[in-house]
């Protein structure tokens, strides 16, 4: 055990281990019966029907909602491809299904199968309890109408799996943490230089509001062209980069502690966001504005997630393979030794604050795109989430050490814990307590690691 704790694996990838343990835990904790509504499930149902009766007449029953609609469409396409006939696709509540089926009975249309996803099938019409098979239920209608006499209800096979470990849920977690993680890239660099940036949450709001405002004022509001939108977004982000630069200059040239400088910028940016927006969200109806936040250029993967992964790869390369990355570590580890080695310490510091501001602006853009508006309340308390992700990821607030990929893992740990707690029914306030404990545990672990897992040194 002791040898294991001291191994390189634990010191480098200890947080990854924690993330995997959490994944495993929530996978088990949310284990249960799954009733699939996927297109795969639709294909499976179609195959089952055709294998039983080649030219089956089928009625499909789905409820309103994207998932079931898609299920119905896919099932219909598959059945027709295989030679079956879809008599009708009924969309709506159980009573709608009942009415439609009665009509079909009255028209004497033969129905062999009624296919529905589990949720749509589980009601008093399609699957009544024994002894409650009233005249509105399928068995009741079958007694009355001959054409329905042989109708069998069929639904996709259910199986046991974790509600947590599904593709949809994992992508949702990644999407949810994406903007926090993106800011955390900049924050990691700032913290490695032994600094801090409290302004990122406010800069998110500022960027979103100023961009929305520019789109409304200058780019033609709802008729804005793609180029106009791009310019406004870049402008919003650029202004955040300028705020970051300002912080960097204050920190280097005037030697004001970063905590104070960025606290000031935090208030200024939040205030400006409220003033510009008149405290109300500025909505953006322009076509294409939702591309960044809610579309998927790579099928199935939301754009913020793609962007996050891309930025982390770039930042990792920057920190491990470039001169600038090396300088950032050196400035954090020993600024005087770095300066006396000819490292342009001030420029390095200004760069990290500028980048952090820029990334906060990008995060604001993602939020604005997601909600199609610039809200002055975006990112309230976000700076603490970001710092938490960095710290949980193993970066020392004392500066000089830390890893970009550690931060990604840190952000994911936080996202997984939140998501897992939501699914296992842990209340909001309890979540805060757990979150706080997580941060303390991360810092404690870091300290223990430094002194080789001895309590006394």
């Amino acid at each position: 055990m002791k040898k294991f704790l001291h191994s390189k694996f634990v010191s480098e990838y200890g947080t990854l281990l924690v993330l995997l343990v959490l994944f495993a835990y929530y996978t088990v904790a949310t284990w249960g019966v799954i009733h699939p509504v996927s297109s795969g499930a639709a294909r499976e149902v179609a195959e089952k029907i055709i294998s039983q009766k080649k030219d089956a007449w089928v009625v499909i029953v789905v409820r309103k909602g994207d998932d079931e609609q898609a299920f119905g469409k896919e099932l219909k396409a598959q059945l027709e491809k295989a030679g079956g006939t879809v008599v009708q696709t009924i969309t709506g509540a159980p009573s709608d299904a009942s009415d439609a089926l009665r009509e079909l009975g009255e028209l004497n249309k033969t129905v062999d199968y009624v296919a529905a996803p589990h949720e749509a099938a589980a009601n008093g019409v399609l699957n009544p309890e024994q002894g409650k098979e009233g005249e509105h239920s399928l068995p009741g209608l079958a007694r009355k109408h001959k054409s329905l006499a042989n109708a069998k209800v069929i639904e996709p096979d259910s199986y046991e799996w974790s509600h947590f470990l599904t593709r949809t849920n994992v992508l949702k977690i990644a999407n949810h943490i994406s903007y926090t993680a993106i800011i955390a890239i900049g924050m990691t660099m700032v913290i490695i230089t032994a600094g801090i940036d409290l302004s990122v949450g406010s800069l998110m709001a500022f960027a979103a509001v100023i961009t929305a405002w520019m789109i409304q004022q200058w780019a033609g509001a709802a008729e804005a062209t793609m180029a106009g939108l791009m310019l406004c977004c870049l402008g919003g982000m650029g202004l955040c980069g300028l705020f970051g630069t300002l912080s960097g200059v204050m920190v280097t040239t005037f030697r004001v502690p970063a905590f104070i400088v960025t606290l000031g910028v935090m208030m200024i940016a939040r205030g400006l966001a409220h003033i510009i927006s008149g405290t109300q969200p500025i909505s953006v109806e322009a076509q294409g504005f939702d591309w960044l936040g809610s579309q998927s250029t790579i099928p199935g993967v939301p754009n913020p997630v793609t962007l996050m992964v891309l930025l982390f790869i770039l930042a990792h390369i920057l920190m491990t393979h470039t001169t600038l990355g090396r300088y950032i570590y050196a400035v954090g580890g020993n600024p005087e030794a770095a300066r006396l080695s000819g490292v342009p310490v001030k420029r390095v510091l200004v760069f990290v604050y500028a980048l952090c501001g820029l990334l906060a602006g990008l995060a604001g853009m993602i939020n604005a795109s997601l909600f199609s508006s610039g809200n002055p309340k975006f990112g309230e308390g976000e700076e603490l989430q970001v710092i938490a992700a960095v710290v949980v990821g193993g970066t020392s607030l004392a500066g000089g050490e830390g890893r970009i990929l550690g931060t990604l893992i840190g952000a994911l740990i936080i996202a997984v814990i939140y998501s897992g707690m939501n699914q296992t029914g842990v209340g909001e306030h309890m979540q805060k307590v757990v979150f706080g404990l997580l941060i303390l545990a991360a810092v404690l672990l870091d300290q223990l690691k430094k002194r080789g897992f001895k309590l006394r040194d």
Partner: protein, 506 residues
């Protein structure tokens, strides 16, 4: 033996103490006896095991094997408090004083003299006066320690140790940061302690001091006791030989390189009171020694040349061209480098690897479009590791875990790779053991032979006399003298210049 007649049981007896760390056997069966009223010098290269032994006495480490006895009774030290309770005080290079508290408050910190919860300052003051008198110290006990000189703070530390009925004091490199006159003063204090029957374990690389005050010398090498002899049985050379395990031809292997044309020319350099109108030149192949008392402005001069501070006046020329130096970045580009006195605070990023430290000033030449060619970097480092004989477990060893000598070599390696033409050494051998010192001297010779211009700042007069082609002496920010005939100069000649003309007139 210092303690003869007082008792037939040694004050401290260490028998067969061994200590292993993962991968290293730091101490292998050490025996040691210390008598009351005796000064035992502990000698050894860095990494020989001196610090481990001290830490065992101080309670920071527990021995794996072996026993400790105090007055013939078994002694177990599990934590620092045990050590203190047994009357053992350790004075580290870094003092444990609260800068904002006065000498008196520091001495009684944690053991205040109180009546009904109130501190009885008068009583404390009386005891401090007593302690200071015992030491012959002249310090105002009510001045915050942060305002005291290093030497005075050290005396406060010693007084604090005495206030706790200490019988054994361990001093770790106590003179490393002291000026020559302060060293004299400290040696007197150690004499006082000795006279009062306190046992002293004295660790120093400065052989002169050891000859002056030690009764016996114990030499450690690679965690083993090489031998313990009384001081009379040693000569300088035999002591060095015993420490490094091989014979050195001489302490200062000076080679006179051929002097070429003037490379660096400093003209009327000034900054405040610390550097006043300093002008000198260094020729190719020349080692220019710069010395003076602590605070004379030597380091400040070097920092101005290097661009670490901004001069208020004066010019710097390299090979006849005037340099515009606004920051170390400019001087590094021009080919001037500085090996700082404090390697840990200014020379190295301790948390980073040797390779990363080595690369720091050289990245522009290792990188293309900002991407570092790490193979090229590692290869370049290899060359210097071989040439400078740097002892590493690998290029990714953390710089903070190297010995002082190896740290100095890493700093040197990064500048050599940079092809520096003017090399400024500020106290090049401070805190470095004798073996590594010798190697540094040889490197200085090689650099001079390669036609570099070298400025060597040092407080160690034998070193200045032994290694320089020419010597400049500073006093209160001004150059007060130049010695060109180094071979016939003496330490006294330098000291006369170092204390300044004003003092000579008086």
């Amino acid at each position: 033996m210092g303690g003869e007649g007082t008792s037939d049981v040694p004050l401290l007896r260490i028998a067969g103490v061994a200590k292993a760390f993962p991968g290293v056997l730091a101490l292998k069966g050490i025996d040691l006896e210390l008598w009351a009223g005796e000064v035992l010098a502990l000698l050894g290269e860095n990494g020989a095991g001196k610090s481990t032994l001290i830490k065992i006495l101080g309670g920071a480490h527990q021995p794996d094997e072996g026993t400790l006895e105090l007055d013939g009774k078994p002694l177990e030290i599990i934590q620092p408090a045990d050590s203190q309770a047994a009357g053992i005080a350790i004075i580290y290079q870094e003092f444990n004083l609260v800068p904002g508290l006065s000498a008196r408050e520091n001495i009684f910190l944690g053991q205040e003299t109180t009546r009904a919860g109130f501190i009885v300052a008068d009583e404390e003051r009386r005891r401090v006066d007593e302690l200071f008198e015992r030491l012959g110290a002249d310090i105002d006990p009510e001045v915050p320690c942060g305002e005291l000189s290093v030497a005075e703070q050290q005396e406060v530390e010693i007084a604090k140790a005495l206030s706790q009925n200490t019988r054994l004091i361990v001093m770790d490199e106590p003179t490393a940061a002291l000026s020559p006159s302060e060293v004299e003063r400290l040696l007197q204090v150690v004499g006082e302690l000795k006279a009062q029957g306190i046992g002293v374990i004295y660790i120093s690389h400065r052989l002169n001091e050891i000859f002056e005050i030690a009764d016996r010398v114990m030499v450690l090498r690679d965690g083993e006791r090489v031998g313990t002899r009384s001081i009379g049985e040693f000569t300088r050379d035999s002591m060095i030989e015993m420490m490094v395990g091989r014979s050195l031809d001489q302490e200062f292997p000076k080679v006179f390189a051929e002097l070429g044309k003037e490379r660096l020319a400093v003209n009327a350099l000034s900054r405040g009171n610390r550097v006043r109108d300093v002008s000198f030149g260094i020729r190719s192949g020349e080692v220019l020694g710069l010395t003076g008392l602590v605070g004379a402005g030597r380091t400040e001069t070097a920092r101005l040349i290097f661009g670490a501070d901004h001069p208020e006046g004066g010019t710097i020329e390299l090979d006849g061209k005037r340099l515009q130096i606004r920051s170390p970045r400019d001087s590094v580009t021009a080919g001037i480098c500085l090996l700082t006195e404090d390697r840990k605070a200014q020379g190295l990023v301790l948390g980073q690897s040797v390779r990363e430290n080595f690369g720091l000033p050289n990245l522009p030449s290792f990188a293309r479009l900002g991407f570092i060619d790490q193979k090229r970097e590692a290869k370049a480092l290899d060359v210097h590791v071989d040439k400078l004989r740097i002892k590493l477990t690998g290029p990714d060893q953390s710089a903070g875990t190297l010995s002082g000598g190896n740290q100095q070599k890493v700093v040197l390696a990064k500048w050599l790779e940079r092809n520096a033409e003017v090399i400024i050494f500020d106290e090049p051998t401070r805190g470095i053991d004798v073996g590594a010192k010798y190697e540094i001297y040889q490197l200085i010779n090689q650099l001079a032979a390669a036609g570099k211009a070298i400025l060597m700042i040092s407080s160690e007069l034998p070193e200045v006399l032994g290694m320089s082609d020419r010597i400049l002496v500073m006093h209160e920010g001004r150059l007060t003298g130049e010695i060109t005939d180094v071979a016939n100069a003496t330490q006294a000649d330098i000291m006369r210049l170092a204390v300044g003309t004003a003092d000579m007139a008086a």
